[in-house]
Structures are given as C-alpha cells and as structure tokens.
Symmetry: C2
Subunit: 202 residues, 2 copies
DNA sequence: TGCTTTCTATATTGATCGATATATATTTAA
DNA sequence: TTAAATATATATCGATCAATATAGAAAGCA
C-alpha cells in the first residue's frame, strides 16, 4: 500500500500477517481469554512491537475485526450472489454456511463477528458499531440479490426480499451455533431443503 | 431440600441465592471476564467460602449452567406449549424470544447458553455436553408440540415437525444475536409474521 | 563518517488473577 | 464443659495480567 521508504529501522515483521494471526487467536480464545503473551507468540513479535504497531489490546481487537470484515470475502454471500438460479443460490449459501460452521477443528468456527465479537459488545468499546454495520451490509447484499431475481422474473413481484434476507441471516445464526456446539455437517444438512423452501416460497 | 442439622458452623449465606448471583455475573461478563472478586462481591461471600461451597471457578460455572437449565422455565417454550392455537403458539414463542432478547439493559440478554456458555465450549471442560443436552431437550419439546397439533388435526399428517422445530430454534438464534447487537423489539417484530408463516406452512 | 529515526530485545512495572494458609467464630456431639 | 467439625475473615501466595522504560540494533540522511 505504502512503499515509500521511511526513516529509521524498518520493522522485520509483516503487519498484515501478524494481524491475521492475532485475529485467529482472538477467534479461538475470545477477547479476555487471549493474553498479550498468546498474541505476541502467535504473531511472532514482542510486546513493545505489538504496542507500537497496533496500540493496546482493545485497538488490536478492533483492527482484527476490521481485518475480518474487509478480508473475508464471505464465501456464503459470494455463492449466493453468483449462482444464477435463485433456489440454487439459497442452497449454496446455506451449504457454505454449514461448511464454515463445521470445518475448523479449532475454536475459530463459524463467523468471528457472530461467535466471538458479539459477546464482547457490552465490554469492548467500538465492537457494537462494527457488528451492527456488518449486519446492515450483509442484509443489503442479500436483499439486493432477491430484488435482482424479482426483476429477472425469477421471483414474484411481491416477494418480501428484505424479510427473506433476514430469515437467511437468522437461520445462519442457528447453523453457526449448532456447529460450534458440535453438530456435524451431515446433521445440519437435514434441514437444508426445508430451510431453502422456507426462504424462497411465496 | 435437606434440613438435617449438620455438625459445625452453618453457612450464613443462601447457596441458591449466591449461585443465582454468580450466574448473573457470568452472564454479563463471560467466563474469563468474571473475576473471583466480581463473583464474591455479587454473591456476598468471601473467597474461601466460594471455594468451599462451589469448588473452583470452573465448577462454579458449570453449576451456574445447571442452575440456569433447571430454574429457567423458559417462557418461550412454555408459551409455545400452552397456547392452544398452533399459529398463535408459534407467534407467542417468537414474541417471548424477542422479549428475552431485548428487555434487559445489561449483558444478561437472550439465552445464557446461546450467548455466553457456547463461546466457552472449547475452553471450559463440561460446557459442551451441557449445551448439547439443552439443544436436544428443547427440540424434543418443540417437536412434541407440533406432533400434538398433528394428532388434533390442526396440522397435516405430513407436517415436518422436527424440521420446523429446528427452524424455530435456529431463527431464535438470529433474534438473540440481533438483540445482543442492539436491535429493538419493534425492529425484530418486523419479520415476526413472515417467520411464523414459514414455520407452520406446509 | 556522524546524526536522527525507528524498530527490536530485555527486563520489569504495579495490578490483578485464581486459589489457599492460617486463625478465629460458631455450631453439634459427647 | 470439652472436643470435633465446619464456616468465615484476614492476609497473602506465586503466576500472570496489560503495559512500558531502557538500551541496543538497523535503517536513511547529511
């Protein structure tokens, strides 16, 4: 982003890589559960370097949230937006969610915002606004995809795009919760078709 | 429960009351966020009394979960089970969920298991089993209510009771998440009718 | 070559963490 | 009345917490 040579000794670690490592630690252990030691070890830097580059623990956490929001292309939404057939699009969305919810053995499952960040809303200043914004952005994208299907005549004109976008989002929370508790992908798929029909039915 | 006089000095605090206070603290601050100081202050007892009566912090947390599971009559489920009309029953279920998700100003919102305990599954041994059992029990009760409606002829014989029970449960997660992030009850009610129809529709 | 700037490494800060040792108070049983 | 048992109160344990002061190392600029 900024290749201008700066005066002084250049840092020997990669900012983005270190931030991604920090995100993983926060994801697995939570905000309180992640100690500065845990973070610096995973990031491969020392305490002073962490504080110089990222500020204090709270700022690092907020930066990790922003990194997640920006970098995460969010496969489920991408699938939903790119798949042509609207029914298949909904199905692929949920399939991707189920994948996210079950594939990682560690604590870094599902959605970082939904599983981890949301629990620190009342505790860490700045988290609430970020999670709220993420919800708004996600719903807009989901709603827009439904509106597109309406224009293309794939869905009736009175299709409640926004309500169904929210339904997808809320059902997603259920999948993520179940995955975190330990349900298998196979188990989660049992309701998949029923959920797809509920979303697109008019 | 046990009024038999025991040898030695009797404890001067109420075990159940203290445990309920501990539950509130864990609910608001999370497992890591709740310090022994926080707990003893809210419980009105000293450290040694806490350790003598409840074991260590982890055991106290598990006891708090059990207390929540046992004591919490879970208004949403009760409403769903007692309301005669099945459509009204589903609606009352979601209404109660919305109430839970939005009414408390503190961090003790929604469902303790879904919002707090689930985040400590990989960290605190014994939590996963308890949350899993809670999901199983809840789904059984929800499914049974639908089966009853089928027997009464209020729902068609091929109504997918279990899938719809899970749908209710998963949509519930969405409401709880939104409430935690800051959505108002009014906002959450916007999708209520659509969700009710999705659940009972055949 | 200095000189300035910035990063890294070591060491350590006061505070707080979970947990407990010790002493004292209060009860029952003998 | 005494002994045993259990609770509470005080004080504090070593470990770890988040955060930083200090000093040395590595870069650009003169």
């Amino acid at each position: 982003m900024n290749d201008i040579k700066k005066i002084g000794r250049p840092r020997t670690f990669d900012y983005e890589v270190a931030l991604t490592e920090a995100l993983t630690v926060f994801w697995e252990k939570g905000y309180d559960g992640a100690s500065i030691r845990d973070l610096t070890q995973a990031m491969g830097i020392t305490g002073p370097s962490l504080y110089a580059a990222f500020g204090d623990k709270r700022e690092l956490y907020l930066k990790a949230i922003d990194r997640y929001t920006d970098a995460e292309n969010c496969e489920p939404i991408i699938k939903f937006e790119t798949e042509e057939d609207i029914e298949q699009a909904v199905k692929q969305f949920f399939e991707a969610i189920i994948g996210y919810a079950t594939e990682h053995e560690s604590g870094a499952r599902g959605c970082f915002l939904a599983s981890s960040a949301s629990t620190n809303i009342g505790q860490v200043e700045g988290v609430r606004e970020r999670v709220q914004q993420s919800i708004v952005d996600t719903e807009k994208r989901l709603t827009a995809r439904f509106d597109r299907a309406i224009k293309e005549g794939k869905l009736p004109a009175d299709f409640p795009s926004r309500a169904r976008a929210r339904m997808m989002f809320d059902l997603r929370q259920g999948y993520i919760f179940r995955g975190r508790v330990g349900s298998s992908a196979k188990e989660l798929r049992k309701t998949l078709n029923d959920y797809v029909q509920a979303v697109i039915r008019t």
